[in-house]
Symmetry: none
Subunit: 210 residues, 2 copies
DNA sequence: CTTCATAATGCACACTTGTTTAATGTTCAT
DNA sequence: ATGAACATTAAACAAGTGTGCATTATGAAG
């Protein structure tokens, strides 16, 4: 594939951008005005060059009738990042999620381990958030949190089993004192739990579909 | 969504098919001759109907300048959700979110299309969020938003190009009035942009690594 | 030094294409 | 039967749009 000059590169970039945002191609005069040319022929020359070099293909005489044949924006070569499938639970009834029987799962998602911030070795799971106790931490009802089993550090958001129900709270441990759980919502009280505190895991990522 | 008549359905099918195979839209006369109409006005009526019912959106007076807003047919045939790789940009400088300079990507993430709420056909990209203008919508600095190029509906969060910088705002259009952009942070003003508003895409998902 | 590709101006032409107005006939629910 | 939405014909207009020719200038290659 022949190289493009700077100007040709800009033109190709613009028409692809225009196509992406408008879903139809720019006319020659639209390209002209975008680049501030005084003549449509400046554009013509570049389009001819792009076609000659094989980047686009045009239909002669017809309006906005062309296509980008060579996709200029190459894909990032597949990195070493690994994609894992994570089951989504609506709630986790009694203690730890069963990783084996996925009967309770209400769905699943796939995401690469780097983005989710998890290790493949641990069995991560996901929860669909109910309630608004973490709203001040930017976690809303309907969001999906990815939880990795493990011990929390102070400040982590954890999935904790309280009254037989999984709840999201911020885990706080000051000095060597007893840890407590803080709801990130001014309307909710903090919990100073007794010994019966079961931490199911640490929230590693939040995914929200809009 | 209002129902389509048989004829309207055929027309919509044809223009989508034409777009798929040619990557640009058919002109009115091309539609006309494909269906054997004796008058361009037969097509005009159907296009008006399709636009009125919200299936397409047209640019008045311009050639082949429209788009299909509601994707009528086309459904993923495979039950297995598909994982796509999405490039992450730190910012989009001069209006080229594509890989014109692939160096712009600061990473990539992989996620299944269902969770991200995107279509594989569109070229989605991701942005690392800077600033706090969307804090009230639960989008914080450092979050990653997945953006799909396309036209926004009122209430959508969009990536918009303002002063040569990509910014997240909520897109509001009341009735048929001019749209404006609203920051989801009480400390930030709303923007009533002039015509030079470039919407780079609609935010479909938010991913936060903790 | 000449030649060639790139880059751009200026202008006019002609085809492409969207749009309008006027009319006719159909189907369908009220 | 009556209005409303649908379907289509017909002719003409105006704007959108691609294209050609003439011309100038620059930098790299031969």
């Amino acid at each position: 594939m022949k190289e493009l000059t700077t100007r040709q590169h800009e033109i190709l970039g613009y028409i692809q951008l225009h196509f992406q945002s408008e879903s139809f191609w720019p006319s020659i005069r639209e390209i002209q005005s975008h680049f501030g040319f005084a003549s449509t022929n400046a554009v013509m020359g570049h389009l001819r060059a792009l076609e000659r070099k094989g980047y686009i293909s045009r239909v002669a005489g017809q309006a906005r009738a062309y296509r980008v044949t060579f996709d200029h924006q190459e894909q990032a070569p597949d990195g070493a990042t690994e994609v894992v499938e994570i089951p989504i639970y609506g709630s986790i009834a009694a203690g730890y999620p069963d990783g084996v029987e996925t009967g309770g799962a209400i769905g699943s998602l796939q995401i690469d381990v780097d983005t989710a911030g998890i290790r493949r070795s641990r069995r991560a799971f996901a929860l669909k958030v109910r309630g608004e106790s973490m709203i001040d931490a930017g976690i809303f009802e309907g969001d999906i949190v990815i939880v990795e089993p493990g011990l929390p550090k102070s400040g982590d958001i954890v999935a904790a089993l309280i009254d037989n129900e999984t709840t999201l709270k911020r885990f706080i441990q000051q000095g060597s004192g007893a840890p407590f759980l803080k709801a990130e919502n001014a309307a909710y009280p903090s919990l100073h739990p007794v010994s019966e505190l079961v931490i199911q895991g640490v929230v590693k990522a939040v995914v929200r579909s809009l």
